[in-house]
Symmetry: C2
Subunit: 214 residues, 2 copies
Amino acid sequence: MKVKDKSDHRTAKGNKKNLVSESRQQILDAALGLFAQKGYAATTIREIVDTVGITAPSLYYYFGNKEGLYRELMQTYSAKIDSVLESHLHTSECAKNRLKDLVDKIFLRVIEDKNFFRLMFTIYYGPSNGAPYCDFILYHVKIHAAIKKIIEDGIAAKEFQPGNSGHMTWIIRGVVQLAMEEQIKDDREKIDRQRLQKILDLIVDRFGRPPSIA
Amino acid sequence: MKVKDKSDHRTAKGNKKNLVSESRQQILDAALGLFAQKGYAATTIREIVDTVGITAPSLYYYFGNKEGLYRELMQTYSAKIDSVLESHLHTSECAKNRLKDLVDKIFLRVIEDKNFFRLMFTIYYGPSNGAPYCDFILYHVKIHAAIKKIIEDGIAAKEFQPGNSGHMTWIIRGVVQLAMEEQIKDDREKIDRQRLQKILDLIVDRFGRPPSIA
DNA sequence: GTCTATAGCTTGATAGAC
DNA sequence: GTCTATCAAGCTATAGAC
């Protein structure tokens, strides 16, 4: 990965000379990919700048240090998740459709920003690897709460059978979590979007029916 | 964390002088804890030996290098998981009980060897952090297959309603996965053993009943 | 804004005494 | 078996020219 041949730098630089510095964004993109793939600590400044085709001092010029670069990435993508969770609050569908819609939106976000979610999971489950603290628990809690709210609304509206909404929430979240994780790993049989929808149908359908006589 | 005062070493050594070297096991224990907490790459040889109260050459004497130490840990604990999955094959209970029993056994193993599972999840989801390759996918596949087998047996025995056993497997595995992950993280509301059992009852109960008329 | 050059530190690992 | 002492390599970050 280490490029010893310095002419590579000159070539890369030459190719982009006509553009008004897009280095900043290129650094962000390269860093996200490398952080997601190798982890925060394991990703070196050298690798990032070599990927972009610039030198270290340029990176420090834009972001101050490694932490500043990381923080900017977190801020950008966290805002995108928040917007999904907030946008979802203003629907007046039935509980079943709201649940399916929320899950689908979260899933689509994972597909689109796969590298960010990879990084998020990496840091959430497992050591932060020296990465500056970022409150990812918050997103698990927010998603959990959003699902639970819909289920409780569904019970209140007699759409779902009364029962332990907490348990029901864990079931939904388990499948969602697994689907996200399968999506993030790309070397295995996946739960794709359609399959997730079908599984959700199966669960939601049973939620709507009375339990067997104990 | 770095112990500068070298008298610490002497004290620790003095306390154990009467024991025929238990350094080896102490190194393994300390390394597992640190790898799980900080990751493979982020854990330094110095930290491990400082934790035990010995010096680096002793570690190299026993394990050759960092990778050798890691490999020995993986081998030891992987064997324990295998023994759970194998021991479970020889039961002749009903599907419902087999499912509950398998899940409970896996869950108990997670609780007992929490640090190993932490490390395993860390490396499985997320970058290996330079850790030598270890086929953790295998365990996910094995667990998945074991659950699916039981469900299909249950359907064949008319204990569960016919349906998509693949989807049913994902639902069970989602909850199991989430319970494991919650257990590994220790700063959040957990799915404890009892709760997992109740959730499983809820799911399995519904598996045994016909779907609503579409 | 981007470079060359390098300081200053931490790391995994080893030589060799006891 | 365990130590002291030390090395070479790799890291983040910066000084200063252009």
